[in-house]
């Protein structure tokens, strides 16, 4: 395998996993409540900052990640329970716009607490590359990103399709009024969806933080960068988010290698526009998905 191809495969897969990890929260919220949440980037910042504080205070990676993700889980649920549940019945557009305000609010509070400086943590994983075939190899940071993504998707998919809670979430997503008549507590179910989205966003923030030294603003922006992947996969499809993320990651890496890095985002958003024009429901999404 040539070096260029190896670079594309490695970085495409890893970045695709990060996109998918960000995207899964969008999809969970959308499926359960019909809301497109623009606040996921802010939850990523929150998770990353909590994680960094805990690690810098001496806590090891695992417990710090669990506490940070757990904190975002609780915060996400509270946000829905205290604020967004009151918008039930409002147009999805209004609620989605409200998430923009939520995102700004959360980011502003995070900046007040931790400041705008770059987030620094000790090196948790090695950058040493483990070669598999020829030039194809992954560093421990790459493997961490992919492992977290696989674990999150496995848990979310299992939870949605193999547990009573998942069944209730799918029922609410399919028809909230009918779900109420069958005894499903929509408030609890939707609160859980927001909590899960908070958790996955926090994990995405942690995964991104582990390999870089980002400032809060760039993590927040990353939350929106996942949109091409989500739209490509289908806004209401969890497996589609993974596939869409990896495709976008591979396309961006290919463009960066053969055309130039300056074009990688142009191509990603070109894909987004093409999908909106040609197949708004994405590769795996349902055709009835509402467009904003």
């Amino acid at each position: 395998m040539s070096n260029d191809v190896a670079t594309i495969v490695i970085n495409g897969l890893v970045n695709g996993c990060i996109y998918a990890l960000i995207g899964v929260g969008f999809v969970v919220i959308f499926r359960a409540t019909g809301v497109v949440s623009f606040a996921q980037g802010a939850f990523m910042v929150l998770g990353a900052e909590i994680f960094a504080s805990l690690v810098n205070d001496g806590l090891s990676t695992g417990p710090a990640a669990i506490l940070a993700a757990g904190g975002a889980f609780i915060f996400g649920g509270l946000v829905y329970w205290l604020a967004f549940s009151r918008l039930t019945g409002a147009e999805a557009f209004i609620t989605s716009v409200a998430t923009v305000g939520l995102g700004i609010l959360v980011e502003a509070v995070v900046l007040l607490i931790w400041g705008p400086a770059i987030i620094v943590i000790p090196q948790l994983f090695s950058y040493q590359v483990h070669h598999l075939v020829g030039q194809l190899g992954f560093s421990n940071i790459d493997l961490f990103a992919m492992a977290v993504t696989v674990a999150v998707f496995a848990v979310v998919l299992f939870g949605l399709h193999r547990t009573p809670v998942g069944l209730r979430m799918r029922a609410v997503a399919n028809n909230p009024r009918l779900a109420v008549f069958t005894g499903v507590n929509v408030l609890v179910t939707s609160t859980l969806a927001w909590a899960i989205a908070g958790l996955t966003a926090a994990l995405a923030g942690i995964v991104y933080l582990v390999g870089t030294q980002p400032d809060p603003g760039s993590i927040y922006a990353l939350g929106l960068a996942a949109f091409p992947a989500i739209l490509l996969g289908g806004f209401d499809s969890i497996p589609g988010t993974l596939v869409g993320g990896i495709i976008i990651g591979l396309v961006q890496a290919t463009v960066a290698v053969y055309v130039g890095g300056a074009w990688q985002d142009v191509v990603a958003y070109g894909v987004l526009l093409a999908v909106l024009l040609l197949r708004p429901q994405g590769m795996f999404g349902s055709p009835q998905v509402a467009r904003l």
């Binding site: 918008l87 409200a98 305000g101 502003a108």
Partner: protein, 421 residues
């Protein structure tokens, strides 16, 4: 209907609350407006019409992906204003800083500048993290005769000289000769390969182009030239390409978050090549956290490594930053270091020499004849002249000192290059 009405009300409440908090997050300014929350101690504006006050603007990315740079610059502008106010103001007049967020929704650098000029009647405008923004606002500044002191300045706004555009720091292309001479000083082998990796800003790409030409003239071979879009959130592909080119030296100016993975990826591949980063982009925190002895950065102002420094310029900056709650070395040297203090301080000195009121061409003339000496911060003096609106004339090169776990000056007094590299 009722639920929608309630929903709308909640949306409004949320947005209003978030806007308020965003204002707090941007250090006391309103998110997109400049005439807001007041603070007598911080040099923050209460109103543009405050009697007798000297009102200066800041047009920068105070929110969004580049807010770390915008907030950093604003902190140092406020510090310089507070220092002046604490010492009786400028010719007896207090300095007030008003802000306009160029990154706020529906806002851009030009409309933010219009707001500062038309509504707040500022005498001069600081800010402009992006050189493109400085260039875009330059015609407006010229037509209203309001000097701009830009954090990043496009070369075409400096040569030929534009009366109302002043560079707050060096232009990256000016750092090319120092980059090359330092690489030669490090004895990068002849015929060795070099790589460039820069962010997609105008100044950084110009630096990459000029340094590549100069490096080839010095006998090194071009391995790869990578650009990271400003909107990109990941540079791993570009970094992989740099690693794969097996460089003997890397010339870089990525955003700060990409420096750690660049260094670690190179070292993990067994490559210990020097990485020379332009525009002071490594930062104090970058040095102290990455701890790499072959990582260097070029910058026009010294880091402050001793809070009790006796050097006059550094001590003055420490004192001024204390008024903004910046009391640790990491805070004082934040982001790109205390270089952001120098131009605002020099502007205050220009206003002092100019008398009151001082605006328009009088202020521009005063700026063109300002020279300040800040030992411990600036090598030589910081001075704008009628023929060159860039104040820094000498550069430092910094490296990591394992003995102190801080950055140290490796070379000082290097002359800045020409605007075309």
């Amino acid at each position: 209907m009722r639920s929608v009405a309630r929903g709308s009300a909640l949306v409004c409440a949320l947005l209003a609350l978030s806007a308020g908090l965003a204002a707090c997050g941007s250090s006391g300014s309103s998110g997109s407006s400049s005439t807001s929350t007041g603070s007598s101690s911080g040099g923050t504006a209460t109103s543009s019409s405050s009697a007798g006050a000297i009102v200066l603007g800041d047009d920068d990315d105070l929110s969004g992906p580049l807010s770390v740079y915008g907030q950093y610059t604003l902190t140092f502008i406020r510090a310089a204003a507070s220092y002046a106010n604490a010492h009786g103001g400028i010719n007896g007049h207090q300095v007030k800083i008003v802000t306009a967020d160029a990154a706020a929704t529906g806002q851009n650098a030009s409309s933010a500048a219009e707001q500062l000029i038309d509504s707040d009647h500022v005498s001069a405008i600081f800010g402009f993290t992006l050189s493109d923004d400085c260039g875009a606002v330059a015609p407006l500044a010229a037509s209203h005769q309001v000097p701009l002191i830009c954090s990043s300045t496009p070369p075409q706004s400096l040569a030929p000289v534009q009366k109302y555009v002043f560079g707050g720091t060096t232009v990256e292309a000016q750092e090319v000769p120092a980059s090359i001479s330092f690489a030669q000083h490090l004895k990068v082998p002849a015929q060795g390969t070099f790589a460039t990796i820069v962010a997609g800003s105008l100044g950084a790409q110009l630096y990459a182009s000029k340094v590549a030409t100069a490096a080839e003239q010095a006998g090194w071979k071009d391995g790869t030239a990578q650009v990271i879009p400003l909107t990109a959130v990941d540079a791993s592909t570009q970094i992989s390409q740099v690693v794969a080119s097996h460089p003997a030296v890397v010339f870089a100016e990525p955003v700060s978050s990409d420096i750690l993975p660049l260094i670690k990826s190179l070292r993990a591949a067994g490559n210990n090549a020097p990485v020379i980063v332009a525009d002071a982009s490594v930062g104090y925190t970058g040095f102290t956290s990455i701890k790499d002895q072959n990582l260097y950065t070029i910058g026009p102002a010294e880091y402050i490594t001793d809070l009790g420094t006796a050097q006059q310029g550094a001590a003055l900056a420490v004192q001024a930053l204390k008024t903004q709650g910046q009391t640790t070395l990491a805070q004082i040297n934040q982001v790109l270091g205390p270089q952001a203090f120098v131009a605002p301080y020099a502007t205050m000195q220009a206003l002092k020499s100019c008398g009151y009121p001082c605006t328009g061409s009088s202020l521009a003339n005063a700026l063109e004849h300002t020279s300040v000496s800040l030992p411990g911060l600036v090598s030589g003096s910081f001075s704008w002249t009628p023929s060159l609106h860039l104040g820094f004339h000498q550069l430092y090169i910094f490296g990591y000192d394992p003995a102190t776990s801080q950055p140290k000056v490796v070379e000082a007094g290097l002359p800045v290059g020409s605007l075309d590299g």
